[in-house]
Amino acid sequence: MYTTDLSGKGKGKAEKAVAEDPALVAAFEARVASDEFIEPKDWMPEAYRKTLVRQMSQHAHSEIVGMLPEGNWITRAPNLRRKAILLAKVQDEAGHGLYLYSAAETLGTSRDEMTEALLSGKAKYSTIFNYPTLTWADIGAIGWLVDGAAIMNQVPLQRTSYGPYARAMVRICKEESFHQRQGYEIMMHLADGTDAQKRMAQDALNRWWWPSLMMFGPPDDKSPNTEQSMRWRIKRDTNDELRQKFVDITVPQAEAIGLTVPDDKLVWNEERGAYDFGEVDWEEFYAVVKGEGPVAKERMQARVKAWEDGEWVRDAARVHAEKRAAAKLAAE
């Protein structure tokens, strides 16, 4: 899945205050501007490093927290095929988390540090996962809309300037594309099913549509980090551009299966060659970013519980490995 950059405003200014050799900065900027990849051992401005760690760890956290709303339906999947697909999909998200944490670790922050930041509430994750999955149709809607939005965000990141991040995204995008299709296929099936199933599908679209549009982040005029991130090729399109693209692609998909996008203001604009659409409820967005999403507490509680309940297991694995290493050393 995906997270937008949800960091607070103004942090960039403090980071810029660190004195760095202007020649190094200029060489770095030139490399990035010519679309070269920056690799872990290359010199990079501290602010670039921090921004990347923040973005990549938020992205990784989103994958991990994102396992929960869908995991909620694995044990209740309606048949064996759907169960296997959903299990494989949620497992993919765990794998994405793992690549992303590993890629972020190349910048000098450990996975445990990133995890602690998530569990203490210091680090953010995508707001979308703080909404509940109430029916089976939500699993379809998440694949179709949430993974659909994620792909929109992630495809450009395959060309992002930081090499390990870009390479992780290549693999992730392939899997997300499969996730998106499986979600849409669930929705197609429901929309073509009984009245109860149609109702379930429409209800899921009603609830997930606006939160999906929020996944692209605040409007461009309120996105403080966009300019620098675009210059650094950490980001390649603006939030509003991606949001528009998502609407233009998704609305016909909804129509094709007879579902109605819950937006009175939605209309095709011939002149722009794009849909005009209503305003996202930004007050809700900022509230969810602050941790006031409907199931934000449940999500964090589940992550904290898994981490705390698992501590003795991780300790045992570490102690056992130390015992093995000591025994091997003694034998040599």
Binding site: R76, L80, A84, Q91, A94, V313, A316
Partner: protein
């Protein structure tokens, strides 16, 4: 159902119920790597279940497929062994269950590759590779937890203690097994016991753990006499099929 169909059903039910149990861990495991590996094992089990249950339905010949068997039977018609329906408990209890079962399943599938039922032989040939990995995974964790910290050792002992009473059922033989053997389809499970014991004892020794004391076995799963846990598992698993009869998904 005749004996051969029931034989396939039992194989499918074991895999289904264990896969369902393991999938409860998804998103909640002690570490990301563990989450991935438990999901892998769960996926393998669900895959095996799909093949075996579809076969059981075909052999029965009444139009039931794997989904009908998985989602529209009640407790008394489930034929899985009691071991696989046991609750996950803590990670050590989950590993104890996997450890005892995967070694059995690997030996079982190895033998079933010679089944005269070509479908069972083919499923076994594919699944034996999966179960060999499950057995290694579970054994590695038994060793890590048994020879880890004091706490992990105590938990591993408790996990094995919980599961041990259900081990004998894995090797128990009845009329269905006898008829399946006669048909050249099934195998003598009792004959797997000594290999299983050898494997289990070797891992326990490496894990610095004692083999739990023998005790009166708890039996009944093969004929539908289950623990209280299974009904709750089915309630959750079968919810949609029960709530929306006749709908397809």
């Amino acid at each position: 159902m005749d004996a051969v169909a029931t034989y396939a059903l039992r194989l499918g039910d074991d895999s289904l119920i264990l896969g369902q149990r393991l999938s409860e861990w998804c998103g909640h495991a002690p570490a990301l790597e563990v989450d991935l590996s438990l999901a892998n094992v769960a996926l393998d089990q669900i895959g095996q279940a799909t093949h075996f249950l579809n076969l059981a339905g075909e052999l029965e010949g009444k139009g039931r497929d794997g989904d009908a068997l998985a989602f529209r039977r009640d407790v008394m018609d489930f034929t899985n062994c009691l071991l696989v329906e046991q609750p996950n408990g803590d990670f050590a209890q989950t590993i104890a269950r996997q450890f005892l079962f995967s070694h059995y399943q690997e030996l079982l599938f190895t033998a079933l590759m010679a089944s005269k039922n070509a479908t069972i032989a083919a499923i076994a040939a594919k699944a034996v590779k999966e179960t060999a990995y499950h057995a290694v995974l579970a054994s590695d964790w038994v060793v890590r937890l048994g020879d880890g910290t004091d706490e992990s050792k105590a938990r591993m002992i408790a996990g094995l203690d919980w599961m041990w009473r259900f081990a004998d059922e894995l090797f128990a033989m009845d009329d269905v097994d006898a008829a399946a053997i006669k048909a050249g389809v099934g195998i003598d499970k009792a004959a797997l016991r000594s290999s299983w014991d050898t494997r289990i004892d070797a891992v326990l020794a490496e894990a610095t753990l004692m083999r739990p004391a023998s005790r009166r076995p708890v039996l009944g799963g093969r004929v539908g006499r289950h623990s209280e846990h299974l009904g709750h598992l089915l309630t959750e698993m079968q919810f949609l099929q029960r709530a929306y009869p006749g709908a397809t998904w």
